[in-house]
Amino acid sequence: MILSNFFANKRLIVLLSSLIILIILMGVTLGERENATWPEKFVRDSMALGQGIFSQPAQSFSRFIDNIQHMYRVYEENRILKQNLDRLAQLSAEVKRLQSENDRLREMLGAKSTYKNYQLRFAEVIGRSPDRWNQVIVIDLGSKDGIKAGMAVVTAKGMIGRVQSASHFSSQVELLSDIERGNFLSAIIQAEQTVYGVIEGYDVKQNILIMRKIPLGAEIKQGETVITSGLGDPAIPPGIIIGEIVGISPSDYGLTQVAYIKPSADFYRLNEVYVVERYLPDSQHQGENAEGDKREQEAQAQ
């Protein structure tokens, strides 16, 4: 009797089944997904159109405010920049000399390709997740521009995140501050010796990245720069600046060290960003590698 009543109540059944469907949906989509499904891409692309319309005037307004702020500091900045410019000429000459020396030495060694080549693609930020649990921004480049999931996204100041999923005309970028859930980033501390570690956490309260798995013996100091290592993730090239160390402590069990890193890029004021497109060595430098091998063989023959 009660059971038949229950089934007669159609509304309740619809409500309950939709609840179950929602929970199943959450469970299915919770894990890391390689690619978004086509309905998601469709919705994201069509909303990106509207986001573009709304964000354009907001962008120009925010740039206008920035310009006003800059105008106040222009005199002081100009003085400092002029000083730096003198140093720059010297520095770039030095870089050129070192680079040619590097090339020469590489050639002598018959070394394989550098793995360091990449190209920057300019992208405009057209949206951002309104709440702070998902630290996601939307950019106006998509798979039609060759953007793929996993590519690094940087500003002029440093790395800000990775492409989470690319739709046709737009892409979602997951910021470094959303690094929970097993999205690790392999990094290097530029101490006297190179120290490896893994960035795998973010402290929302202090706006600080947490780098773990640093060997106990490694000597690291505050103020040292942290860059990407280029290991682990094939789409992220080495040498992109992440930030600088502001604190060091032993880990919970005392087996490794933990470094706290202040990101050099501002995760909140994002207008223009660059997507890093890495040239993967196996496709680009196959010829070079073959040459190197040949040279090695010749050397052995002699």
């Binding site: 989509t29 509207g50 986001q51 949206g127 309104p130 702070r132 929302v204």
Partner: protein, 174 residues
């Protein structure tokens, strides 16, 4: 034109505003640690639930929650669940009251509070939200409630006009 198309367009505009224009003026953009999160779509959904009934509130909540999920989140279903829930129950609660700005404001604040807590508990269950409840209360929840209450008061008069118009039309049709 169908009034429900208009309502959907209105909510879509609110959804787009949340993610674009308002992100350029949000306090953390200017280096302040408090997080004021615009929940304007939720405010819209609650207005719809209050004037047009809980079932419409539920449907609008589900659909626009799902849109928000797809746009900004990797996990799909959290916002849909929260918004549907809030839409349904704010429509239900309103049967007890008579209409008036103060009571509407009260319903808004309680509903957004529940919505934010539901979202927070889902995300902390999934391991996405890592802050504790107390910090979230002080730095996020109270500023968020404040911002959205102000927005609700600002759009009270136009929303009332639009929704009462639709309500009358519905009655005429019947």
């Amino acid at each position: 034109m169908n009034p429900y198309v208009w309502l959907s367009a209105l909510l879509t505009v609110l959804l787009l505003l949340e993610g674009t224009v308002l992100q350029f003026v949000s306090p953390d953009t200017w280096g302040i640690t408090i997080q004021m999160i615009p929940r304007f779509v939720v405010v819209g959904v609650i207005y719809i639930a209050l004037y047009l009934g809980r079932r419409k509130g539920l449907w609008y909540g589900l659909i626009f929650g799902l849109l928000q999920d797809i746009l900004y989140s990797d996990v799909i279903g959290v916002y849909a669940f929260g918004m549907g829930l809030v839409g349904y129950f704010s429509g239900l609660a309103f049967k007890l009251f008579h209409q008036g700005l103060l009571l509407i404001l009260l319903t808004m604040i309680v509903s957004i509070l529940i919505y934010d807590l539901v979202i927070y508990s889902f995300f902390s269950m999934f391991g996405i939200a890592s802050v504790n409840l107390q910090w979230m209360m002080m730095n996020q929840l109270i500023p968020t409630l404040f911002l959205n209450a102000i927005f609700a008061v600002l759009i009270y008069v136009p929303m009332k006009k639009i929704l009462e118009g639709i309500e009358l039309e519905e009655e005429d049709r019947e």
